[in-house]
Amino acid sequence: MFPTSSQCKYWMFSSEEELDSLRVNANNKHIETHGKNINPATKYDIFLNPEEERLMVKRFEGHLKDFCKRFQPPMPRCVTGTAFHYFKRFYIKNSVMNYHPKEIMVTCIYLACKVEEFNVSILQFVANIKGDREKAADIILNNELLLMEQLNFQLAIHNPFRPVEGLLIDIKTRGSLHDPERLRVGTEQFLERVLLTDALLLYAPSQVALAAVLHAASKLQENLDSYVTEILFGRDGSDKLAHLIDAVRAIRSMEKTVDIAADKNLMKTLDKKLEKCRNPENNPDSDIYKKKMQALLDDEDDLYNAISAQNQEKDDSALRMSLPNSPEVA
């Protein structure tokens, strides 16, 4: 039930402006913590600015879509939808410079597979990744908990796919449209593209679904207005109709903006810039990261050694054994 979900409560935002300001916040916070001794006037020479971050996220959303499409075994749409939700949510609170979108992207898809009960093992999953698969598996498993934490463990996602089915059933039953099954192709195309927009974070899945159906209908030069105004909103929703029309219009206009292709040269320069300014602590190729992991391991070893030494001491005192050189506990 969407109205009682955590998605509705915590992950719905009022406007694109709010989303933008949140992203700017994340960007500022990162620069503040990692660029203390850098002149604020020239900070964007080194760091990505919020707009550039936005472009990066957009580009990787495209990659995410392609990855899901090419995934073997083919995955259900809801996995893709859920992965998109996770990815967007993550970069509302985090900067691209802190966690590389390439890594978060695959982690989102992996987590979405689990949540949507699409059962693939990590080995099967990384078989879809080019390059060093072992490393990829490591990255995914390392980031998985981080991702869930950043999502506040609110993992249930309401996707617009089921509402579309519901609407089609309803149109077939109560509407007067001839052969509503024709709408399906257009609807699916629309939904695929709408995932790339922020509409998921602004509008309820049923609203997105309705927009998709209406869009498909208008493409076929059919008119569903009477179904919406009279049957859906007829009985007690006439005062809400204006708002819904606004929402549908906004979603459709968002969908139109998807096609603006990114400049490839710009992307290359951005990639280089990001490689320079990304947080080395979270870069699995950096020395700092390796050191950190090693330190974690050592910590565990130290802890283990301390505990075993303590236990040894207890044993000795309990047994009244005072060995001068008790053998080293490995």
Binding site: M1, F2, P3, T4, C8, M12, F13, S14, S15, H158, R162, P163, V164, E165, G166, L167, L168, I169, D170, K172, T173, L202, Y203, A204, P205, S206, Q207, A209, L210, L232, F233, R235, D236, G237, K240, H243, L244, A247
Partner: protein, 313 residues
């Protein structure tokens, strides 16, 4: 048996009453001290037939004739694999043929006739019947386990009975001493006639004895561990805990659809929504899935949240 001697050191039972004859798979005997001496390294060859042997295969010789011992050993080994039961055969004749075969194998092996072919035969049988052998082994294990359980049970019963008898005896002893003391006290401090006192006490003792005889021996119904006998036939359960807290009261969920009212459960069937979806298959229905639930859910999700807005909140 007395003139029986170890073939190697010639020690007899007469010279050494604790002489223990050991025997290995080849069927030639050796005394324990010779085994210790010859098989110091764990393996060596039989002094009679020079067959390589292992020390841990030596067993105490139970039969005077070592060849019997050998046959018993072989039989044991063969039967480990040829462990079919009569139930495994369709006819009695087949079973008898099977037993016959076992006998001939055992005979061949223990008399060194055509050993290579016989061993091949055993290998072949093992390969062909691996599953059956394993199954029967397990069954055998289970049977053995049951027997062990019964034995254990009997042991427990005996123990309990012994314990009870001991208790009774000590109780009786105590009582006797008490009575004696009471009698002495009476005789010391009472003014009545000593003869009378002795008589009343004798009377009392007699009565008590009779009473004891009348009392039927108490039947032991459980182990010392507190478990009832024959737990297979009766299973006792712990009493069901009773909860005295206030009972749960059901309050129906109120769902605010934040959208147009979706069709109700009963409408889905009657108003034609079901005409547009695939009906569930028999297999799906067996699992408890009905399409009207899926249909209702899709409709609900389509309607819910259509009024959603965060703008004026």
């Amino acid at each position: 048996m007395d003139d029986f001697a170890c073939p190697r050191c010639r020690t007899t039972k007469f010279q050494n009453p604790s002489l223990k004859m050991m025997v290995n798979v080849c069927g030639h005997g050796l005394c324990e001290s010779c085994v210790d001496l010859l098989f110091l390294k764990g393996s060596g060859s039989c002094p009679d037939c020079k067959i390589p042997l292992r020390r841990n295969n030596f067993r105490v010789q139970l039969f005077e004739d070592a060849s019997v011992e050998k046959e018993v050993d072989i039989r044991k080994r063969v039967l480990r694999d040829f462990n079919k039961k009569e139930e495994d055969f369709a006819t009695l004749k087949e079973y008898n043929d099977y037993l016959e075969e076992i006998e001939s194998i055992v005979y061949n092996l223990s008399n060194n006739i055509d050993i290579i072919n016989t061993n091949k035969k055993i290998e072949q049988y093992k390969k062909d019947n691996r599953e059956q052998i394993q199954k029967n082994k397990n069954r055998l294990g289970r049977e053995e386990y049951e027997i062990e359980e019964i034995l254990e049970m009997e042991k427990q019963v005996n123990e309990a009975r012994k314990q009870a008898i001991l208790m009774e005896e000590s109780e009786a002893k105590k009582k006797r001493i008490q009575r004696k003391e009471a009698l002495l006290d009476e005789l010391m401090f009472s003014n009545t006639n000593a003869k009378n006192i002795v008589q009343t006490f004798a009377q009392q003792a007699k009565e008590e004895k009779e009473e004891e005889l009348k009392k039927p021996p108490t039947k032991i119904t459980k182990f010392s561990s507190g478990i009832q006998f024959g737990r297979k036939s009766q299973t006792t359960f712990l009493p069901v805990p009773t909860d005295d807290g206030p009972t749960y009261e059901y309050t129906p969920i109120v769902v605010i659809p934040n959208g147009p009212q979706p069709p109700l459960d009963e409408d889905v069937g009657t108003k034609g929504f079901m005409n547009h979806i695939r009906l569930e298959t028999d297999q799906e229905r067996a699992g408890g899935f009905k399409t009207n639930i899926a249909c209702l859910r899709a409709l609900q999700e389509a309607m819910m949240g259509l009024y959603h807005t965060k703008k004026n909140m």
